[in-house]
């Protein structure tokens, strides 16, 4: 009886973890540039709602994906205008984006509540499907976003740690003064990181509405944005470790759903608490050490040459 549970949880972990991973990767890029976006939840909602609305209106989930990515990017650029151009407090700006996301997503999504869409197509390579323990389960039957999740994580890692651009972005997050002294423009690098991060966030939201649930509901992200922020800390701002984190929390969610589906006695509410409590516990257990891994200038604003 445990094997189906295990494979069910694993499959669920990967499915659930996809949007978490994209959100975490996006936020990692942004935080490496020294900016915290507490309104990530809002970006996810914008992605989910615009993606769903586009898919419902045009019948194309791919178009929905594209629009979601663009909306996420634009939303993050709006956030960037506040915290970089206007040097506003990052925390308050993040919450402003949160409210913006709540409101915009409601406005965009409400007309399409209940709409039926064809989600992103799922696909599984034939040789994998032929394996005995794979066929008959949902394992490895994934949409494009899930298949691309690992490559995207590697891409983000490579960009941050193997390119001149990434070196500059990380320098801005550690010491904007040093980045500036080296001839770079911290603001431009931050906007670039924000754009990329926003696109990833939009994709994260879109995965929820276009693949996982094929619906739209207000507040459907249920705090995933905040869990992603915690995951960034958990993975020490490293894109590859984020994969492990996303799997772990995707698994927590999946476990909870599987248990509910199997009719356990435990109240569904207690089960639903599990991911949030797990997040806190994990941060607690490794929190102290992780503080040192944070980009040194995270959360601050830079004021040109002193």
């Amino acid at each position: 009886m445990t094997t189906p549970l295990f494979s069910g949880v694993l499959a669920g972990a990967i499915l659930s973890g996809t949007s978490l991973l994209y959100a975490t990767l996006g936020e990692t890029l942004v935080e490496r540039a020294g900016i915290v976006n507490l309104g990530l939840e809002g970006i996810l909602l914008i992605g989910a709602s615009t993606g769903f609305a586009t898919a419902a209106a045009t019948g194309s989930a791919w178009l929905g994906l594209l629009v979601a990515a663009l909306s996420g990017g634009l939303a993050n650029i709006l956030f960037g205008w506040l915290v970089v151009s206007r040097r506003a407090n990052q925390l308050a700006s993040g919450l402003a984006m949160l409210f913006f996301g709540f409101g915009l997503s409601a406005l965009v999504g409400t007309p399409y509540v209940g709409a039926v869409i064809t989600g992103l197509p799922k696909w599984r390579p034939a040789w994998l499907a032929a394996l005995p323990w794979v066929s008959g389960s949902t394992l490895f039957n994934y949409d494009a976003l899930t298949w691309m999740a690992l490559p995207v994580a590697v891409l983000v890692w490579w960009a941050l740690f193997r390119t001149r651009w990434g070196l500059g972005v990380r320098a801005v997050g550690e010491s904007p003064a040093a980045a500036f002294a080296s001839g770079r423009s911290p603001g431009i690098l931050q906007f670039q990181a924000l754009s990329a991060g926003g696109v990833l966030g939009g994709l994260a939201g879109a995965h929820l509405s276009l693949s996982l649930t094929l619906t739209w509901a207000e507040y459907m992200t249920a705090g995933r944005g905040f869990i992603a922020i915690a995951l960034v800390i958990f993975s020490k701002w490293h894109p590859l470790r984020a994969v492990a984190g996303a799997l772990l929390f995707g698994g927590a969610e999946a476990l909870q759903l599987q248990l509910q589906a199997r009719g356990t006695d435990v109240s569904p509410f207690l089960l639903e608490m599990f991911p949030y409590l797990l997040t806190i516990l994990v941060l607690l257990a490794w929190g102290g050490a992780r503080r040192l891994a944070a980009p040194a200038s995270l959360g601050r604003t830079f004021y040109g040459s002193e």
């Binding site: 205008w81 206007r86 990052q90 109240s267 509410f269 608490m273």
Partner: protein
């Protein structure tokens, strides 16, 4: 994550000028929101007129504003007090629910007590419920394990689940309909209301809390200590202040105020414990405190303003078919305008 000092949006202008500035900002935001309404196919003039007539133009509408203000004042103080130490409490939602929960526990366990005993007990429990819920992140922060912003945020999602568990489980209303709620509280546990409106004793508690906040911060030595920690925690530590203890205490007191808000909603409005007690009062309280710069008069003013705005949300849902959540766009716009003002000199 970086420490933020005192919340401050609009600097230290004298009250009249600050009020005018807030007014101007609101006007601009209303204009921007009007455009959003137009894009959504709604009539902004009609919307604003409806809002006015439902809220300010008649006595009952005005009383409803006071009803909304009550929890907002408390959740704003819940943010403002810890913010003076540089702590960020975005857990007002969760603390509110836990306050409601513990207060309900008291009401359901001692229904027979006379009102003069039960009400204070229930209020105390409401405070304690929120205080403990906020003390948990406080301890984590004081021990430098977890940033309190994240901890309070995550606990926001746990508290309503606890409430739901009890509503669907041990406290389920056996007499009632299928509607998920607890059994009704005895009359003794209900906060008294005024003049046939829904305005309840919680308003007095909220105003008292605002006053207490001001007194503590400005007139006591504890306020000096707390402000010192907010101004320079390193120096405060070196001067012998027990910073870790203060972190926990400040968050606990803040959480207690939010808990009182929850108690107020449960005991004053609903008369029982329900899901959905708070349409985001915790977050709205944060915004109020931030916009007001942590100042009591500003909190009063902003709470009133936000009460009008959230009323508008309900009104527009009814009259124009706009989803309630869309009103968040207006809030966001107000914030954008405030945030986008002339870049400040100070840091974070």
């Amino acid at each position: 994550m970086a420490e933020t000092g005192r919340l401050s949006a609009l600097g230290s202008a004298p009250p009249v000028r600050a009020a005018l500035r807030y007014g101007a900002i609101t006007a601009v935001a209303l204009a921007a929101f009007a455009m959003v309404l137009l894009l959504a196919g709604k009539d902004p003039l009609r919307a604003y007129a409806d809002t006015f007539s439902y809220t300010l133009a008649n006595a009952y509408g005005f009383s409803e504003l006071l009803v909304r203000m009550t929890p907002l004042l408390l959740t704003a103080v819940a943010v403002a007090l810890p913010s003076r130490l540089g702590l960020i409490n975005v857990g007002g939602e969760g603390q509110l629910y836990m306050g409601a929960w513990l207060a309900s526990a008291g009401a359901l366990m001692f229904p027979g007590l006379p009102r003069w005993q039960l009400l204070p007990l229930v209020a105390l429990l409401g405070f304690i419920g929120g205080a403990v819920w906020a003390a948990i992140p406080g301890v984590l922060r004081a021990a430098r394990l977890v940033n309190e912003t994240i901890a309070t945020l995550l606990l926001n999602y746990v508290a309503p689940l606890i409430v739901s568990y009890f509503i669907f489980g041990p406290w389920r209303d056996v007499r009632g309909s299928a509607y998920p709620q607890s059994s009704a509280f005895s009359e003794a546990a209900r906060l008294p209301s005024f003049f046939d409106t829904r305005v309840h004793g919680g308003l007095l508690i909220a105003l008292a809390a605002l006053l207490a906040y001001w007194l503590i911060m400005e007139k006591t030595r504890w306020g000096v200590d707390m402000r010192a920690i907010g101004g320079n925690p390193e120096a405060a530590r070196r001067l012998g202040l027990p910073v870790a203890a203060w972190i926990v205490i400040a968050l606990a007191i803040g959480g207690g105020f939010a808990g009182l808000a929850g108690m107020g909603e449960a005991m004053g409005i609903h008369g029982r414990l329900r899901q959905g007690l708070s349409p985001g009062y915790g977050f709205t309280g944060f915004l109020i405190a931030w916009l007001a710069g942590g100042r009591p008069l500003g909190i009063l003013f902003m709470a009133f303003l936000f009460a009008i705005i959230t009323s508008a949300g309900d009104t527009l849902q009814i009259t124009q078919g706009l989803p309630y959540s869309a009103i968040n766009l207006l809030l966001a716009m107000i914030l954008f305008i405030v945030l986008a003002r002339r870049p400040r000199k100070a840091g974070r």
